[in-house]
């Protein structure tokens, strides 16, 4: 501390401000990336839900859902796309009129390594249209 001279405080403050502003800027960009990624995931969930609804069996639905979800996401921010299907109205049969929750789970990679990045998912509720 003794070696600090007049004017050094400005440099230190400048360095701190630069770090804070850079951090804020990174987080803002990261939020924009996350928003774009979630938009893609939402769209993927919607088209995946439609493709699942018209499948004739649960096995077919899972396969079809994974293919459609992977094909509908182009963003380089997203990887590890997985689709999960859950029966939600007490029925376990793949039958027309029953409801399932289709969840598209992805890993989002933004320029902020923590908090904003990570696993994100979107769930849609769909009615089965082509069951038994």
């Amino acid at each position: 501390m003794r070696k600090l001279k007049k004017g050094n405080g400005e440099i230190i403050a400048f360095a701190l401000i630069v770090m804070i502003i850079s951090t804020l800027a990174i987080w803002m960009v990261a939020f924009i990336q996350l928003s774009v990624a979630l938009n893609d995931i939402t769209k993927a969930a919607m088209v995946t839900g439609r493709s699942v609804a018209v499948c004739t069996s649960e096995t077919d639905a899972i396969n079809q859902g994974n293919r459609v979800a992977a094909a509908s996401i182009y963003s380089s921010l997203i990887d590890n796309v997985v689709v999960e299907i859950e029966h939600i109205d007490g029925n376990t049969d793949w039958k027309t009129g029953n409801y399932v929750a289709v969840t598209v789970i992805c890993n989002v990679n933004t320029i902020a390594p923590y908090f904003v990045s990570g696993e994100r998912y979107k769930t849609v509720v769909v009615a089965i249209e082509s069951g038994d």
């Binding site: 928003s35 939402t42 409801y99 929750a101």
Partner: protein, 386 residues
């Protein structure tokens, strides 16, 4: 104020101003982020509800009230599994036309989601000052029409009515007697392959009964007298026996004057129901229905809807589909074929407890998928009778 500013104060003011700008930018980004997510969630909820209601109305729903009830059910599922709770969901009554007979309907739904701003800075939105609303208007097609339901309801009104076999199926039961009335009335026999333009159910049976009694009945009296001439009856006894015989016939025939005692064969019944509901008259026999197998009205067994026509028994029998019961088709119609179908009653309403109790009638019947030759979904009766 200006005089009191010293050297370097400008930088301070400039820095504070920029800090405020950045602060508000951050707030703006965060609010836009959540507003955007909320809007997408609202869109997803709208799609889920619209499609769910559309599917429900296609296969089960029967009225606008049903659609509203299903809408609330899907909304609860959406809330439970997507954690999004729309503030308001409405289905257009006009778009889901309860009175529609022919065209498919649209589930026209409006879903409104709200989201709260982080600050009270913007008071121009929403009723609460700091609450914004995002409304999505979306629609989904449904195959729901009231047409099929009306067909079934009309058909069910004839449960228990007499039917006639058609030309290939004579019977020892009373229907042969009823046929006599129509024969006398110059109406050709109404069965397979015949081309009578309208269903015999439209015939006023009472009118023809009275005519028969006055004319053809005489021949019966004579026939009866000849058949019993060698029984040693006195003229009075013979007359009394003839009168009793005629009275018995009269009591039976009076059943045919009842509104519930109309006669059909299987395809005649299908034609009559379609004609009654649509107002488009016509007669389509089973063979003609089968001939339409290459047109656009044929559907797979898994897509059959209430009121659709199903050909069974090798294509010789036509019935109307009512609903699924397990893996079986529950249908309504009259039994074609022969006397063996008597036992195939399945809960139909008997005509009476008299001698006619064994006469088969309009009834529910059940068929397995393997029995089905073809299913037809006629969107409009004009297409059926063309």
């Amino acid at each position: 104020m200006i005089k009191k500013l010293r050297k370097g104060n400008g930088i301070l003011i400039f820095g504070v101003a920029w800090m405020l700008v950045i602060f508000f930018l951050v707030i703006m980004f965060i609010e836009v982020f959540f507003a955007r997510q909320n809007a997408m969630n609202t869109q997803i909820a709208a799609d889920s509800i619209a499609n769910g209601v559309a599917v429900y109305m296609t296969y089960e729903g029967n009225s606008y009230t049903d659609a509203v009830r299903e809408r609330d059910y899907v909304k609860s599922l959406v809330n439970l599994y997507t954690f999004h709770d729309p503030t308001d969901t409405r289905i257009s009554d006009a778009s889901l036309d309860y009175h529609s007979l022919i065209e498919d309907n649209v589930v026209d739904i409006k879903v409104t989601g709200d989201f709260s701003y982080m600050t009270n800075l913007n008071t121009s939105y929403g009723e609460n000052g700091n609450t914004g609303y995002y409304t999505v208007h979306t629609g989904a097609m449904t195959e729901y029409t009231n047409y099929g339901r009306d067909l079934i309801h009309t058909a069910e009104a004839y449960l228990g009515c007499l039917y006639d076999y058609g030309s290939s199926g004579e019977t020892n039961h009373q229907p042969s007697f009823y046929k006599l009335i129509y024969t006398y009335a110059d109406h050709e026999y109404y069965g397979y392959g015949d081309s009578i333009p309208d269903c015999r159910a439209d015939i006023d049976t009472e009118e023809y009964y009275e005519a028969w009694l006055e004319n053809v009945g005489i021949e019966y009296r004579t026939e009866y007298a000849l058949n019993h001439a060698e029984e040693g009856l006195s003229p009075d006894e013979l007359n009394q026996a003839r009168d009793n015989y005629i009275d018995n016939i009269r009591s039976d025939v009076e059943y045919s004057t009842d509104d519930n005692s109309r006669m059909f064969d299987c395809s005649g019944f299908v034609s009559y129901i379609y004609s009654t509901v649509s107002g488009v008259s016509g007669r389509v026999d089973t063979e003609m229905i089968g001939d339409s197998s290459n047109n656009d009205y044929r559907v797979g067994v898994t897509h059959v809807l209430p009121g659709d026509i199903i050909l069974v028994n090798g294509g010789d029998h036509a019935v109307l589909f009512v609903e699924w019961e397990g893996n079986r088709f529950r249908c309504i119609g009259v039994s074609g074929g022969d006397e063996s179908t008597y036992a195939n009653d399945n809960g139909s309403v008997r005509v009476s407890e008299s001698d006619l109790s064994s006469v088969p009638c309009v009834k529910y019947s059940y068929y397995n998928i393997g029995d089905v030759v073809a299913c037809y979904h006629y969107s409009a009766p004009e297409e059926l009778f063309q």
